[in-house]
């Protein structure tokens, strides 16, 4: 059976990318 942890690096990277995009979007929207 496939090891479910194989996807872990992708999940972490995707989450970090999501956080960074949101942070940039919030900043661009103006404080």
């Amino acid at each position: 059976m496939k090891n479910p942890l194989e996807s872990l690096p992708w999940t972490i990277v995707l989450g970090v990318v999501l956080t960074v995009i949101l942070a940039i979007a919030v900043n661009l929207a103006g404080a």
């Binding site: 479910p4 942890l5 996807s7 872990l8 999940t11 972490i12 989450g15 999501l18 956080t19 949101l22 942070a23 919030v26 404080a31």
Partner: protein, 173 residues
């Protein structure tokens, strides 16, 4: 059937989720509904929000945050992964890597709850006139509360992303 550990954890999880919806629901109400529309409310009607709605919402908001963290940490402790998750599953701290996603979600949640109780609430008390403050201090406090509330809204999305991934992809619940 008897009231075993699995059932006990299920009950704690129900309270964790209920408090979490109360907290994040009101956070999103503030940031997607109340704050952006304050400018559209006539000045003579603004006290209805500032004196009535916002204080009531803030009560459920901050206690929702406290309950979410309390029941969440309780659940993580009952599940036996609280130390591993808080150390992000890193081997150097004796953690298990599968606890990294729930750990990241937990840290986001803890930072957000800290912001609620130690930044947003003290500043909102001044901004809403619950405690006395000079007009310039009030305005500054309102702005700080708004910026931290906005930051929490930003963090709530990856927080949920990591918590949902932990449960659904890595079977850490």
């Amino acid at each position: 059937m008897h009231f075993d550990l699995e059932y006990y954890k299920f009950i704690i999880r129900v309270f964790h989720v209920l408090c979490g919806i109360m907290w994040i629901g009101l956070l999103w109400y503030f940031n997607f509904v109340q704050i952006p529309n304050m400018k559209n409310i006539p000045d003579d009607q603004k006290p209805a929000i500032g004196k009535v709605i916002a204080p009531a919402a803030l009560f459920w908001f901050r206690w929702g945050a406290a309950g979410t963290v309390l029941f969440g940490l309780w659940l993580a402790s009952l599940n036996g992964y609280i130390a591993s998750a808080l150390s992000l599953g890193l081997d150097i701290f004796g953690g298990n890597i599968k606890h990294m996603p729930i750990g990241i979600g937990m840290w986001f949640g803890l930072i957000m709850a800290f912001n609620v109780w130690f930044v947003i609430w003290p500043h909102q008390k001044r901004a809403l006139g619950i405690v006395e403050a000079a007009p310039d201090v009030k305005a500054k406090s309102a702005r700080i509360a708004m910026l931290f509330s906005r930051t929490n809204t930003l963090l709530s999305i990856p927080m949920l992303y990591f918590m949902i991934s932990a449960q659904n992809l890595y079977h850490v619940s």
